[in-house]
Symmetry: D2
């Protein structure tokens, strides 16, 4: 019997998909991944079997997700359209990779995902899977069956698939270490204020503590390694920051974004740890990267961000951009002091053994070592093209 590996979340869609795929003649292997969404995954693993999967995997990939995906986004200051830190876009290629690995181990002929036909994630899954193993068939049951919500529930009831209690939630959620995304419901009106119920990881500003937490984050070659001097594995450090910064309401994002599939959608994100790290990392770069690197790196950051958003993680452009970024991170070592308060992660101080900030050049005190006379010659040549242009055109005008 032909075998398919299904990315299984435990929700209604993928539970129904198990049954639906069986009816199409597949035996279904469920694959449930822990990317840091904080759910009870043993329960999910068991549920897959209960619903009819012949096998159910639960893999903790938090560390791999942190090191190979979230870290790349951090070092690239990845904010799609200057706002969205690529939460779901980062987990999709990892899930695709695991689907392919399990499919190859299980000698499955197909993999399946639970995406609909109008989101970005279907693209990310399918392009990634095709890149990793072009021989695997990719199934998208939810996109194929085209049922209304009511029809799906009816099918579930007939097939003894448990209906989740929070089914009437107006939201569609995805979550991992790097943050939580939320769409649908009232959010579909971009004039409406997102209701408090849309948020879970972050306190509302009104409910944040009146006393700040001030923390120090250490980086080694662009990798955050310690909080207040205590070393953490990267995934644990992000989780810790999600709690710390979330308490202070850091990292709420409300974004009307351009999807790859040609429409604008309005999404709400919460990324307390990610936003704190992004700020801190940028400030450390501000003192350690030379100007020409600091001014050109954003060009690659933007490209990488769009590449990942657009589902091209496994394009050979990504390792090329990554090679550039890794080279820039060699001196991004140092400490950043961050004040978490009232929704802000304020960098108040930064230091590095590789700092290019030179107090004796910058100072306006008598310790000044800067050559003030050099400026005269500099300005003369810097402004020469503009001056020649002016002379050439005035001559014309006056003639």
């Amino acid at each position: 019997m032909k075998k398919v590996v299904l990315a299984y979340s435990g929700g209604l869609d993928t539970s129904v998909a198990i049954k639906w795929l069986q009816e199409k003649g597949y035996s279904v292997v469920a694959l449930c991944l822990d990317v840091g969404e904080g759910k009870d995954l043993d329960f999910v693993k068991q549920k897959a079997l209960d619903v009819g999967a012949i096998e159910s995997y639960m893999l903790d990939v938090k560390e791999e997700f942190a090191n190979d995906f979230a870290l790349k986004a951090l070092q690239a200051h990845a904010l799609y359209e200057q706002k969205y830190p690529l939460v779901s876009a980062l987990s999709r290629p990892l899930i695709a990779k695991k689907l392919v690995e399990v499919a190859e181990a299980e000698q499955a002929i197909a993999v399946a995902h639970g995406c609909t036909g109008k989101g970005n994630d279907q693209v990310r899954f399918e392009v990634a899977i095709n890149a990793l193993n072009p021989d695997l068939e990719v199934l998208a049951p939810v996109r194929d069956w085209k049922w209304s919500r009511e029809e799906e529930i009816e099918y579930a009831k007939q097939n003894n698939i448990p209906i989740p209690i929070q089914l009437d939630s107006p939201y569609s959620i995805d979550q991992n270490l790097w943050g939580r995304s939320n769409e649908c419901g009232i959010l579909e009106d971009p004039w409406a204020t997102p209701p408090e119920g849309a948020y879970e990881l972050t306190a509302s500003l009104e409910n944040t503590p009146d006393v700040a937490d001030i923390i120090e984050i250490d980086f080694e070659k662009g990798v955050p390694t310690k909080i207040d001097g205590k070393a953490y594995r990267l995934d644990q450090l992000i989780i810790e920051l999600n709690i710390l910064a979330g308490k202070h309401g850091v990292g709420r994002i409300d974004h009307v974004e351009n999807r790859l599939v040609g429409i604008k959608s309005r999404e709400v994100y919460e990324c307390p740890g990610a936003m704190t790290l992004l700020k801190a990392h940028k400030e450390l770069e501000d003192i350690t990267l030379p100007k020409e690197v600091a001014h050109f790196k954003p060009v690659l950051e933007k490209k990488l961000t769009e590449l990942i958003y657009d589902g091209l993680w496994f394009s050979s452009l990504r390792p090329a951009i990554d090679a550039f970024l890794q080279e820039t991170q060699k001196s991004v070592t140092g400490t950043v002091r961050v004040k978490l308060f009232k929704g802000h992660a304020i960098v108040e101080g930064r230091k590095s053994e590789y700092s290019l900030y030179n107090e004796n050049l910058a100072t306006y005190t008598s310790d000044d070592e800067f050559d003030h006379d050099a400026a005269v010659g500099f300005i003369k040549l810097w402004g020469l093209p503009t001056k020649v242009h002016s002379m050439a055109h005035n001559k014309k005008v006056n003639a």
Copy 2:
């Protein structure tokens, strides 16, 4: 007697410069401009005469500054190194322009500014002046005399130049409608937290109101025109927002930046109105600009920002970039609702008659008009290059 027009601020440096230029054989015309720094400029105008200027001009250029300079920065989302909204860099070309105009009217042979030899402003002034009238000589007395602070004060005393009382201020300040910049003193250590005394336009987070102000800002073709339905001239609108948003602590920026003259310096800025408008304007663009415009405009924004920072306002590249930007602003009309609270300017809602957000395409309800089947073909072609690459390289590897 040869005549020079001096950009006069009323401070010690330019007051001493009047005398110093006289000793060099110039008669000095003082030019004092109101770009929104909120000082008593009649006093300044008189002071120039008292110190020895043969004539003293005071021009209110706030409206021109708002329309021709600050607005361009707003529409370009100009943030140098993603942080600094170009406060001083915007006023310099306007001051240069006025210096040249007055010099030509007064038949002066030279203009003068009070910059030292290590800042960006000397470059901005001199390149701009050369562009506008290459025949005018440019003098930089403060850069030339190379006195210590003590020597300068001694000279002032001997020449009956009044010493300002706040002379022992540790800071060097520049201010206009678009914000306030502050450098020197304790700020020269990038690990040190800026002291409260460094700020003036914004309340500290600890002292902000516990109740938010929620305002609506209207834009017409990219120009902010109203607050809560009340029309303002642009310079007045910015001043109004500086007060409103400043009260809530919006717009403090602490930045280690790369100067044009080759050094890093640490600056503190306060831009309550500017930061509020920048946020609101970007969000209105998010619903009114098509994706390809939204994704390419930042390339021109970055270039324009660096061009302005680097003193090339009067380069012919600027009107070319501006022509691009003006074309994009044609549909940036609508209303943005902003919550001012605890240092944040949070956009909670945005609407426009030109909105490209289409609820019937974006919705996950039964009103969905999006063609889900189209996605299958789209993904196939979108991912085809990656798939062909994979096939070509796997073939190689397996062979």
Copy 3:
């Protein structure tokens, strides 16, 4: 009866399409456009009627094509992947525009084109038509019928559609003022040398004259206006240059390119006039544009080129880029002397009343007006970041 306007070329595909559309219940209006392909279009116009069209239009749009499309490509130095001057990609939006205009005048409910499913042109047509009139249905008979060549010929015979004599040509040709493109046949092997039969507008190098033609081309604000002092309408000037430069073998291009639809294809182009103008225009810019414009303009050129190639002519990004380009063209006035010889269009001289080349600054003779001392200060500040970096890192290494 529902009416469709078909872009008609006179070839087998679109002739068969007339009949096929009739069978689907449409009355067919044929639209034949003269974009400079040098065919007998009166014959084509009549053929449409003979095959069954209820009406047949023949419009000479050469002047509009030259002014509104080819000229934009010229001023943008549009070379897709640095090689292909956008021949077909430029005519498609114009044809789409005319299809829509005729459809609206004729109260047709649909328009149709003769593209297959794997080229770029289907995308260009359909996106353009949708942009101009989203209510019009777009039909693609050739893509839909999925016949083999043999089946198509059989259908033609049964329906008394004349079979063109050059039907056994191994090539697929498209031509307009801006050049001629050729694909298929032996060209599908990228290791094979294109046979001489693939070319028509250009002499082979072996058959070019042994005496050069040296011509002078005048430009006014970026528009080529004269050859050797004689004024031409732009479309006529391009045609004239196609002949002149074609005789000398200028403008053969052999390109393996990345299509929008995800595949690489190998194409052969001939663009004698276009390549001559592109070279001449660039050289005139080299003396009239200031450095910062010359170095940034290519960024917009590349974007515009890809936008046009990708079928997004009617995106609002195009007028924005065009506004930038028009601003840069204001001083691109002058004369370029070009030697046409052995496949080359060699610019041997260029002059302009707006030239920024200043012999007194550039010279190494005693007329030199350049300030050599200024270089010392310039170098000091230009190299300061690199020096500080070196000091910071050496200190580290040696410590």
Copy 4:
């Protein structure tokens, strides 16, 4: 006695500099490098001693120049302002490196170069030397002495410095493996045709053979390794191509360029080997790089080219860009067939085991494997934003 290492060319300027430096109290070590300029360097080495150097080094750095400098320019398709392949700009950092190495070995306190004050090379030398050893003093005797040509010759005569016979040459030449640059004299008029005497490495078109040479060049991971199957060390391969392609007149460039120091200058270059390799390498990339790499790599190419031109070889941005480029070169392996004829290096065929050109996808024959139906969905989503824009704006207009 304080020691200086002088970059010595054997010409009048640097010969005079030896004496001049001695008079300033330095003992002079001459350093003569063979970067492939094809001069008799043993003679030059001896001449330095004759003129007064205490020591004279002659180092053959052709291989290092080819591998570490010219190859980087090749892989980056480095053409400054789309025309100039960075001939001199590439050798300057290598010369600076050797100057510093010899200075450190010889315990010299200074290094010296023979540049004037208005060229790019002074910047390149000084920034590079400062980056490599900020403690070394850099002397620029020719820039400092400010003599007219006559005064310099007079000084040479008085000091028994031999006057080169070709001194009355109107040209200023620099040459290495990657090409030959020429400025001054008649070339200073950009309207004048360069005289034949300005060229040396290339035949005039009028004197090229009437029979083409067709060669095959093999590349391994972006490195040219063989010509017609015969392996060469890279520097030897370039020299071989300079002869082969030079005979056919390939690689003449006539360029009005924007110097770093703010002026435009007109230069003539000959780069037969470089231009042949640049064309061949690009064409191999055209079949081996995926579209997204091919379309983004030019952004880094342009930056690297400007960085090198601007003397920032030793900036830490260069290794970062290089890391990107190296990653892209991994699959640039294959063979390119080039026809050298009448000034052209025409790529007629290209093949690679990593070719992404897939004949079964590209073909218009019955072997076609491309999914034509996928195009329909692709176009629908690709054009959706433009369509939505059109609908939103038409609605407005019609309302």
